[in-house]
């Protein structure tokens, strides 16, 4: 009779891990606290593992959702980016590209994102900016930073804060449009003196590849100086200028417009790269969360089975102690 009662008791205790009631947990004190397994070995309690599994699963859901949001935003910006590439191509056809021009006043415009969780693109941009800073610094030369985006500011403020000229944030509150970027470009042009502007951004090649690129824009005076050296700029004189503008006038207008166009394209490309990088970062984090969940499930099952086994052992040895 006592045996049957014991067996029933055992079965009731065995069923308790299935229900998550805290009252049951209080009764079956064997399972809710960290327990001593066979030979006194400690094992993680199932409660702790269960909590961890729940939080990892939530994180996985969130990162999956973030990936989908980034994918949809990417589709929207990608079309505009590819269309905006036609803005700066005529300028390069006319004025050429002179990244290795040697001037006294350089302004490095670094484009980064405001939000995080986008992989390594902001760090690569900042690294390229710092390298460019080293390259363009020297005696009698002056290099300054204009930073677009919060993430770049945070990284550059650590060691180059005396060279920061301006910092612009909240750029992506409304979808990027040309008017906004051109007002920004105007603002930058009014506030910095420059011989050459170097815009650093991540060019969007595909969803998984982003190339850090530098676009150089020369001030009209530098263009004059470089045109003496020949090349594309030297053949500017062969163009006929209509209207009442002088060459200097035209160059001034062109330089401002070029900066505005290139900045627009650069901002769009960087936004595209940010979305793509966020997609791949969130994708890999969901995958990692899935793997973590698998490992935790194994641990949980092992712990659960171990506790069931110890209970059985206790019951059976108790029963045999009574009878034998």
């Amino acid at each position: 009779m006592a045996m049957a009662a014991f067996r029933r008791e055992g079965r009731r205790l065995l069923l308790s891990p299935v229900s998550y009631n805290s009252s049951v947990a209080a009764r079956s004190a064997i399972l809710s606290d960290s327990e001593l397994g066979p030979m006194g070995a400690r094992s993680v309690s199932t409660q702790a593992v269960r909590n961890r599994m729940k939080s990892v699963k939530n994180i996985q859901k969130i990162t999956k959702a973030m990936k989908m949001v980034a994918a949809s935003k990417l589709r929207a910006v990608q079309v505009r980016t590819e269309n905006s590439r036609g803005f700066w191509q005529p300028f390069t056809a006319l004025l050429g590209d002179n990244p290795s021009v040697d001037v006294k006043k350089n302004v490095i415009v670094t484009i980064t994102s405001d939000k995080g969780l986008c992989g390594g693109i902001n760090s690569t941009s900042v690294r390229v900016s710092k390298a460019l800073y080293k390259l363009t610094s020297g005696p009698e030369k002056e290099t300054k930073y204009v930073i677009l985006g919060e993430k770049g500011k945070v990284q550059l403020v650590r060691d180059s804060k005396n060279s920061i000229e301006m910092n612009i944030t909240e750029l992506q509150k409304n979808p990027l449009n040309y008017t906004q970027v051109s007002v920004l470009a105007d603002d930058i042009l009014k506030n910095v003196e420059y011989d050459a502007l170097r815009i650093i951004h991540n060019k969007f090649q595909s969803v998984v590849s982003f190339l850090p690129t530098v676009s150089t824009i020369l001030s009209p005076e530098t263009v004059e100086k470089e045109s003496e050296a020949g090349g594309k700029l030297g053949s500017l004189d062969s163009y006929e200028i209509e209207g009442g503008d002088t060459k200097a006038e035209v160059l001034q207008n062109l330089a401002e417009f070029q900066f505005s166009c290139v900045l627009f394209n650069a901002a769009l490309e960087n936004a595209c790269s940010e979305m793509g990088a966020r997609m791949s970062a969130m994708d890999s984090s969901s995958r990692n969360a899935g793997e973590m969940l698998d490992r935790l499930t194994l641990t949980y099952n092992r712990t659960r089975q171990a506790s069931i086994t110890t209970e059985l052992i206790e019951i059976i040895s108790g029963a045999s102690a009574l009878t034998g």
Binding site: I164, T179, S182, K247, F257
Partner: protein, 70 residues
Amino acid sequence: MASTAAAVPFWRAAGMTYISYSNICASLVRGCLKEPYRSEAAAREKVHFAVSKWANGKPEKSSNGLCLSF
């Protein structure tokens, strides 16, 4: 190329850059549109960003959220 020093266009003489000149012209054109296109174009005119200028390694406290419309 004869360069008459006084042949500066009026907007340049007034202190505007080419960018602001073209933006004003663009908003004038947008104002000439008729209804469904007008509201679509108005969405393309929104400007918002926050500038902070730095001096000696410190940002100056002027954080004006520039919200301009021409």
